[in-house]
C-alpha cells in the first residue's frame, strides 16, 4: 500500500512518542521537529533503498545524522522504509538492542553509517564522505542533519570553513532550526543569532524553508539540488517547531529529552493518526 508523506509522518510521530514512552527516556522534541523533513528525505529525496544501502555509501546517496539524540525519528523512518522490522522499534534503549539510545554502528543496524550523540561531529564526517565521493568519481550526494543548538559547537564552524575551502558541493547539509535546546531557547541559552548570515559568511549557499509543509520541503530540496555542483556547499535551514504534531509538546524546550507519561502518551495518540499500524509493545 502506498502512503502519503503526511500519513507516514503521522505514523513516525506516533512511533517516536510510543518509543520514548515505552523506554521511559529519549528525545521526542527534536525528533518531532525533524520528522517531516526526514520523512521526505527517506521516502522521496534520497537515491538509496534498503536493498542497496551499504555503510560505505558507494554508488548511493548517504545520510549522516549528527544530532544523534533524535535517534527515535531515525529509527522509525528506517523501520518504516524497510531497513529492519518495525517490531524492533519496541526494543529502543533496551539492553542488547540494536536501537541504542544514540545511534551506533557496532550492533550492525542497517541504515546507520556512524555513531552520533556527542554533538558537532557529524558535519565533519559528512564532509569527509563527500570528498571521498569526489575522489572515487561517485556522483551521488551526501546529506547531513545538525541541530540548531548543536551549532554552538566549535567543530561545526571548523567544518563549515573546511567545506567551503574544499568546495564540497556534493553535500546538502540541513539544520533543524526549532529554536529550542535543553536549557531554554537557543537565543536565551547562547544567542545563536542569524544562522543564515553566519553560514553565508562562511561561504555556503543558504536556503530557508518551512520544515513542516511538504510542498515547501519539496521546493527546498529542489532548490538545494539546483545549487549542487556549483562550487559551494549547500545548507538548508529548516524552520521547524520542537515537539511538532502534539499540542502540549510543541514549541517548548520541556520535551527535548523527556518521556511522556502513559496518560500523556494516550493524549498524544489522539492527536496523531495511526496510518501504517503501530508496532507491538
Amino acid at each position: 500500500m502506498n502512503y502519503t508523506l503526511p500519513q507516514i509522518a503521522s505514523q513516525v510521530r506516533r512511533d517516536i512518542v510510543r518509543m520514548v514512552t515505552a523506554a521511559a527516556s529519549g528525545h521526542p522534541g527534536g525528533s518531532m521537529s525533524a520528522t517531516d523533513v526526514l520523512t521526505y528525505l527517506f521516502f522521496k529525496e534520497m537515491n538509496v533503498t534498503p536493498e542497496n544501502w551499504c555503510r560505505s555509501g558507494e554508488g548511493i546517496d548517504q545520510f549522516f545524522l549528527s544530532a544523534g539524540h533524535i535517534s527515535p525519528v531515525l529509527y522509525s523512518l528506517l523501520a518504516r522504509r524497510g531497513y529492519f522490522p518495525v517490531a524492533e522499534l519496541a526494543t529502543f534503549r533496551r539492553f542488547g538492542s540494536r536501537l541504542q539510545g544514540h545511534p551506533s554502528v557496532d550492533k550492525g543496524l542497517p541504515g546507520v553509517n556512524q555513531a552520533a550523540g556527542s554533538l558537532g561531529q557529524g558535519l565533519s564526517v559528512a564532509i569527509g564522505a563527500a570528498l571521498a565521493k569526489k575522489l572515487s568519481g561517485d556522483p551521488n550526494t551526501v546529506y547531513v542533519l545538525i541541530g540548531d543548538g548543536e551549532s554552538e559547537e566549535g567543530q561545526i564552524w571548523e567544518a563549515a570553513m573546511s567545506a567551503a575551502h574544499y568546495k564540497v558541493d556534493n553535500l546538502i547539509a540541513m539544520t533543524d532550526w526549532n529554536h529550542q535546546q535543553i536549557d531554554g531557547t537557543t537565543e536565551d541559552v547562547a544567542g545563536l543569532g542569524d544562522l543564515r548570515a553566519k553560514w553565508e559568511a562562511f561561504g555556503w549557499t543558504v536556503i530557508e524553508a518551512d520544515g513542516h509543509d511538504f510542498t515547501a520541503i519539496e521546493q527546498g530540496f529542489a532548490e538545494a539540488n539546483r545549487r549542487k555542483g556549483l562550487g559551494r556547499p549547500v545548507m538548508i535551514l529548516w524552520h521547524t517547531e520542537m515537539g511538532h504534531g502534539v499540542d502540549f509538546m510543541a514549541g517548548t524546550c520541556k520535551w527535548h529529552g523527556k518521556n511522556p507519561s502513559a496518560d500523556q502518551c494516550a493524549e498524544a495518540m489522539k492527536q496523531l493518526e495511526e496510518t501504517m499500524g503501530d508496532f507491538a509493545l
Binding site: V105, Q114, S124, A130, A132
Partner: protein, 313 residues
C-alpha cells in the same frame, strides 16, 4: 651482548614521512590530512606526489578527525598528522566517538611526542597521550624507537584494519634497527637475552636502554631487553615470560607513569605473576623548555636512570 650500530641520527617523524610516501605509491586508498603541520610531519613528499589525496585542513584538528572518519567509511585509509598533543588530548572525544566507537579505519600520526619536543615547552610536550589512547576500546597504540622502525610501523598501520595511534618524535635519534624490517603489530621485539633483570623500553628510551644494558653487563648483570613498540595490544606472552625468567622488571618510557606502558605491564603482571617493578618515566609533572638531551637527563629518562633502576632491587 649483541652490537647495535647507530647508522646516523635521524628523526622518527622522517621515518613516518618515508613510510607515507611509500604507501602513496603502493596503496591508492591511502590519504593524508594535516592541520597546518605538513612540513613538521614530513608529509611533503606524499603531498607533492599525490596532491589529490592530500588534504590541508588548517588549524582545526577536531574537524580533521571527523573528515578522516568520513573518508574511512567510504573505504579510504586516511592518515591524519599533527603534534601528538593535538592528535590525542585535544580531540579525545572525536577519536572516541567518530573513530573508535564508529569503528572507522583512521590512522593517527602523532609527532613531537614527549619531552624531547624540547624548546616549545610543556604546552606541546604531551606525556599523557599513550594513556589516553590505550584506554579507547579498539585502538592500537604504536610507539616506535627509530627511523627505520617508524617507517615500517607506518606501513604496517596502513595494512591493519582499524584505528591506529602511531606516536613518534621530533629530534634526531640513533637509527639502529634493520632498514628492511617488517613491523608486526602486537609483537614485542627481543633485543638481548639476560637472566638477571628485564628492561622493557619503548620509543626513544629503547636506545637508552641498550646503553644501560651494556653498562649493566659490564657490571655482571644480565639484561633481558625487550622493545615494546606496540603499546596496545601488548604482547602479554613476551612480557610474562621475561618477568618469570628474571623476577625483576624495569619499564622505560617517555611518558607519565600514569597511563603509561609501565602501568599497563604492571596490570598484566599483577594478575599473571606479581613481580617487583621500577618505573623510568615522569611522575605527575609537566615538562619545560630545554634541549632534548638535557630534558631527558633532568626528568630521569636516560641510560643512567635505567641502570640505577635496574640495580635498585
Amino acid at each position: 651482548m649483541k652490537e647495535f650500530v647507530d647508522t646516523g641520527k635521524k628523526d622518527t617523524r622522517s621515518g613516518f614521512g618515508a613510510g607515507l610516501a611509500e604507501l602513496g605509491n603502493t596503496n591508492p586508498k591511502v590519504l593524508a590530512l594535516t592541520a597546518d603541520l605538513k612540513g613538521s610531519l614530513k608529509m611533503d613528499q606524499f603531498a607533492a606526489e599525490h596532491p589529490e589525496r592530500f588534504f590541508e585542513v588548517g588549524i582545526a584538528e577536531a574537524n580533521m578527525v571527523g573528515m578522516a572518519a568520513g573518508m574511512a567509511i567510504a573505504g579510504y585509509i586516511p592518515f591524519i598528522g599533527t603534534f601528538a598533543n593535538f592528535a590525542s588530548a585535544r580531540v579525545l572525544d572525536q577519536i572516541r566517538q567518530s573513530v573508535c566507537y564508529s569503528q572507522t579505519n583512521v590512522k593517527i600520526a602523532a609527532s613531537h611526542a614527549g619531552i624531547t619536543l624540547g624548546e616549545d615547552g610543556a604546552t606541546h610536550q604531551t606525556l599523557e597521550d599513550m594513556g589516553l589512547m590505550r584506554m579507547l576500546p579498539g585502538m592500537v597504540v604504536i610507539n616506535p624507537c627509530d627511523y627505520n622502525q617508524t617507517k615500517a610501523a607506518t606501513i604496517a598501520a596502513a595494512a591493519w584494519d582499524g584505528p591506529v595511534y602511531l606516536r613518534f618524535g621530533r629530534p634526531g635519534v640513533p637509527n639502529f634497527t634493520p632498514a628492511d624490517q617488517t613491523f608486526e603489530i602486537g609483537k614485542a621485539i627481543k633485543l638481548n637475552d639476560g637472566a638477571d633483570v628485564t628492561v622493557f623500553a619503548t620509543g626513544h628510551l629503547v636506545w637508552e636502554a641498550i646503553q644501560a644494558a651494556r653498562i649493566l653487563e659490564e657490571k655482571g648483570v644480565g639484561v633481558d631487553l625487550i622493545d615494546i613498540a606496540t603499546i596496545k595490544p601488548l604482547d602479554k606472552e613476551a612480557v610474562i615470560a621475561s618477568a618469570r625468567k628474571t623476577g625483576k622488571v624495569v619499564v622505560a618510557e617517555e611518558h607519565l607513569v600514569a597511563g603509561g606502558l609501565g602501568e599497563e605491564i604492571a596490570g598484566v603482571l599483577a594478575a599473571a605473576c606479581p613481580t617487583p617493578m621500577r618505573f623510568v618515566a615522569i611522575d605527575d609533572k609537566f615538562g619545560q623548555s630545554g634541549k632534548p638531551a638535557e630534558l631527558m637527563a633532568a626528568y630521569g629518562l636516560d641510560a643512567a636512570h635505567i641502570v640505577e633502576a635496574a640495580l635498585s632491587f
